[in-house]
Amino acid sequence: MVASIMPRSLLLLVLPVLMLSASDPREADKDTSAIVQASYIYNIAKLVEWKDPALKSGNFKIGVIGNTNLYQELIKKYATKSIGKQPIEVLKLPRSAEAEPCHILFVGQADLALMPALYKQIKGKPTLLITEYQGALEDGSVINFVRVDNTLKYEISLVNSRQHKLEVGVTLKQLAHHVEE
């Protein structure tokens, strides 16, 4: 009897708990490696001199083979910038050793199979090749991204840079993780 005349029980509301969503590195704007690499490439472009007179005018071309996220990051943040008086032009190149002439050519690690042919193709040409695999400087790359202490750094081969008629600035050398003289 008593129970039936008590105030009805009030239900507790469910508290608003949200499961957060982790950033997906497969999305271009959340790919931390691509973002860091793009910034390095832009800075490298500013700290290297292309001695070949033919490359001192026109657009400053940055070619990317593979790594779509890096290409998108370069387009998003740097495609409206200039290196000196040369406007940056970012090119997404086909997976082929017949690469269009560029000031900088980045080749992702997914395209290592192209490397032997690419080295032959750009040999002696004023193209700064940037790679991301172990032993790349020995193969002929000028700048290679390396993983050091859970961060991304770069190593440089001055020997290879000279072969491509590139003058690497002091700052770029000093900040490198490793320099091959």
Partner: protein, 297 residues
């Protein structure tokens, strides 16, 4: 409806004792039954100040019901919070005085009803992202519950509340990422949950994600203005966030290895820590899970 139920209940309880009561309580009860809550309130406020009634549980329980109904008439009104406080206080006094336990059951149920309204107000405030109001209501809820039942274990409630509060701080931080205080409060709140319940999946996962997304956000802010030294510093700062995130995400994974979000979280954290092998490992686990046939219904 509740007012009539309460009135009926009190009339019933008093059936055997009403003759012994003085006019003040009888009149107050009559006004209450007639729905004149303001009139009943005046009489009861005076009554409980008098020595004759201040020690009588029936005076306090009736006052508690009157104030409870005043609160329910307009819970969001100017005096709503005051009415609720008075109702809780009166019902508590009645339970203390009611050694014969004549009114205890109804008092406790009414008291319980009111404490739940405090909890629900805290929940509504969290939904409105008003963390200060939520904290105030939740504090009052705990205080009210523990006043009546000092030994009551509210750990589960604390865990639920702090998980929800952490969500609010995270949303606040996502809305204004330059305000570090929201991030710090979110971290501290989830950590409080983990002190109470180290195996709380939600707090482990959310804390990991909070740190991880913070590290990613730092890197996302890199622009053409950043030179190489600043780029390296940003990476080092982000690395600390990724390293903070990792053990919590691993714990969440250990607790539930088949949750897709933890596999993606670990893939992302290891990727950002430049550990490609581990990142690929968790990606493969995720893809294997995705490839499993859907369970039959």
């Amino acid at each position: 409806m509740l007012c009539r139920i309460s009135t009926s209940f009190l009339a019933l309880c008093w059936a055997t004792m009403v003759m012994a009561q003085s006019d003040a309580l009888v009149n107050a009860n009559r006004k209450y039954q007639e729905g004149d809550l303001a009139g009943a309130r005046v009489l009861l406020d005076e009554a409980v100040r008098e020595h004759e009634f201040s020690g009588k549980p029936e005076a306090w329980v009736l006052r508690g019901f009157v104030y409870k109904d005043l609160y329910k008439k307009d819970p969001l009104g100017r005096d709503g919070a005051f009415f609720r406080e008075e109702a809780l206080a009166s019902l508590f006094v009645s339970t203390e005085l009611d050694t014969a336990r004549e009114f205890s059951q109804s008092s406790i149920q009414a008291y319980d009803f009111l404490t739940k309204t405090l909890y629900n107000d805290a929940a509504r405030a969290l939904n409105e992202l008003d963390q200060d109001k939520a904290l105030a209501y939740y504090g009052k809820y705990k205080q009210a519950v523990l006043r009546l039942a000092p030994g009551r274990d509210l750990t589960e409630r604390d865990i639920e509340f702090n998980n929800a509060l952490g969500t609010v701080y995270t949303k606040r931080f996502n809305q204004a990422r330059e305000q570090q205080e929201w991030f710090d409060k979110a971290v501290s709140t989830y950590r409080q949950v983990l002190v109470l319940d180290p195996a709380n999946y939600g707090a482990n996962y959310n804390l990991a994600t909070l740190f991880y997304n913070r590290g990613v956000y730092n890197i996302q802010r890199i622009s053409s203005e950043n030179d190489i030294p600043s780029l390296q510093r940003i990476q080092e700062v982000s690395r600390e966030f990724f390293n903070e995130a990792l053990p919590y995400m691993l714990k969440a994974f250990e607790m539930n290895p088949r949750r897709r979000e933890t596999l993606l979280g670990l893939e992302g954290i290891y990727y950002s820590l430049q550990d490609e092998r581990q990142s690929d490992h968790y990606r493969a686990l995720y893809e294997a899970l995705e490839a499993e046939p859907a369970p039959e219904k």
